[in-house]
Subunit: 252 residues, 2 copies
C-alpha cells in the first residue's frame, strides 16, 4: 500500500479536478457516496475519506441526511481588534465595520463566576457576576459568539447593571463604566487557536472541529482592577483578525 496508490487521495484529487472543471457548481449537491463508490469501484467509506479531505479544505460541505455540497465561498471579513486612535470595543467587534451587523444577547444578573472567570476578575470562584451571552449576526446568521462577565459588586444598584438594557444599552463596557465613575484604561486580549465544539459549530453554522480563534479579553480600570472579562469564539472561515500596533521611537 504505497503512498502513490492510496485510493482516497486519488479520488479526492479527481473530485477536486471535476469540481474545478465545473461539473458541479457552487451550491450543487454531489452524487451520493453510494453512487460515486460504484463509479470509482471502491467501498463507500473510501469516498467518505476522500470527501472528508475536501471538507477539511473547505471545498465541500457534508449535510447529514441530505448530501455533500460544493461549498459557497463565504467572504472573510476583517476584524480589526485595535486601531491606533480608535480603541477596541464590543461594538468594534462587528457593527463598526458596516451597517449589516446586529446582535442578540441575554443577561443573567446573578451568575456565579466559574473558576477561570473568577481568576481573571480577581474575585472568589462562585462570586456573583453579571453574565451576558452574545450572538453576533450578519444576514440573520450567527458569525461570532461571546460571553461577558462583570462583577456584580461593581454595578449593583446602578443604572448600567445590564450591558444591553437601560440608558447605555449596547454602548460598550468603557462608556458604561464611565457612567459609574470607573475609568477603563487598558484591555488585554489573549488569543489561542482551537477547534469548534459541537455546540459552537451548530450555532455558527460551521462544522464541528473547524478552526476558531478563542479571544479572552479583560478590561482593567485605572487601579489595575479587572472590571470585565469576555470570551469570544471567532470562526476562522469568516473572520480575519488583526491588530494594529504603534511603534515607539526605538525598541529597548
Amino acid at each position: 500500500m504505497s503512498p502513490a496508490e492510496r485510493q482516497y487521495q486519488r479520488i479526492a484529487a479527481d473530485l477536486r479536478r471535476r469540481i474545478g472543471l465545473g461539473e458541479w457548481q457552487t451550491g450543487d449537491v454531489l452524487p451520493s457516496r453510494a453512487k460515486l463508490a460504484i463509479e470509482y469501484a471502491v467501498d463507500a467509506n473510501v469516498l467518505q475519506r476522500a470527501q472528508q479531505l475536501l471538507i477539511t479544505e473547505g471545498l465541500l460541505e457534508g449535510r447529514t441526511g441530505s448530501g455533500t455540497y460544493v461549498r459557497r465561498p463565504v467572504p472573510r471579513r476583517a476584524m480589526v481588534r485595535s486601531r491606533i486612535g480608535a480603541p477596541v470595543s464590543f461594538r468594534a467587534d462587528l457593527g463598526a465595520i458596516d451597517g449589516t451587523g446586529s446582535w442578540e444577547s441575554s443577561t443573567d444578573t446573578n451568575s456565579p463566576a466559574p473558576q477561570r472567570v473568577a481568576a481573571r476578575l480577581g474575585v472568589e470562584p462562585g462570586a456573583p457576576t453579571v453574565h451576558t451571552v452574545y450572538e453576533f449576526l450578519i444576514d440573520s446568521q450567527p458569525v461570532l459568539l461571546a460571553n461577558s462577565w462583570e462583577p456584580l459588586a461593581l454595578t449593583q444598584g446602578s443604572p448600567v447593571i445590564c450591558p444591553e438594557y437601560g440608558p447605555l444599552a449596547g454602548q460598550g463596557v468603557v462608556r458604561r463604566m464611565a457612567e459609574i465613575g470607573v475609568r477603563v484604561e487598558r484591555a488585554v486580549e489573549r488569543t489561542r487557536p482551537s477547534r469548534a465544539t459541537a455546540t459552537q459549530a451548530n450555532l455558527l453554522g460551521v462544522s464541528a472541529g473547524d478552526l476558531v480563534t478563542l479571544i479572552e479579553r479583560t478590561h482593567y480600570d485605572q487601579d489595575g482592577r479587572a472590571v470585565e472579562t469576555a470570551e469570544l469564539v471567532v470562526p476562522d472561515s469568516r473572520w480575519d483578525i488583526s491588530y494594529e500596533l504603534p511603534i515607539g521611537r526605538q525598541e529597548s
Copy 2:
C-alpha cells in the same frame, strides 16, 4: 451503539483515570496496545482510537515502533505581542522574557518575493527581497518559527542589509531601519488559527496537525510604506499569545 457504550471513549476515560492515579508517571511508556487490548478484552484498534483521543488532548504521545508515552507537560510561556509603552519587536518575541532564549537564522539577500509577500510589501511578485529564516530556541529546542522579508531596494548598499549580520545584528527591524533614515511607525499583525504542517511539526517537536497560531506581521514607515513583513508559526502547546491595548477616553 448508543453514545453511552462507545468502547474507545470508556477506555480512554479509564486510561486517563489510571494516569491520574499515577499508575504510569510522566515519561513512562504504557503497555503495548496488544496487551491493553487483552486486558480490556477488545480489538487492538479500539485501544488505538482511545489512545488517539488522549494524544490529541496532549496527555499521551505515540512513538512509532517504540511505544505510547505519558507526555511531559511543557510549560506554556507568555508571549506579549504588544505592551503599552514597550512596542513589539522580534526580540520581544522571545529574548525579552528571560535569558534562556536564543535564535538561529539564515539570510538570503536576493530572494524573489512570493505572491502573498509581494502583495504585503507592495512590490511586484518576484521582486528581490532579503529573506531571513528564523528558529527560536529554548534549551536548544525550536519553539517558534519565523520568516521575514524586506524589499532589497530598501537596504541595498547599506550596512544593515542583513538583519543578523553587521553592526546592528539582531537589533530588530525598527532600529535597523532607523539607521538608514526609515522611521517605522506602526505594525499590523494578522493572526489566524491553523494546524502544523508535517515540516513545521518536525521542526517544532510537536505532532503534525497540532494547533498553531500563524501571525502575519507587517511593519510600515511614516509614509505608510511596508518595510518588512514576517510570518510566525506559534505552537499553541508552548505559547500563550496576548496583546495589551490602551483604551482611549471614550469609544466612538
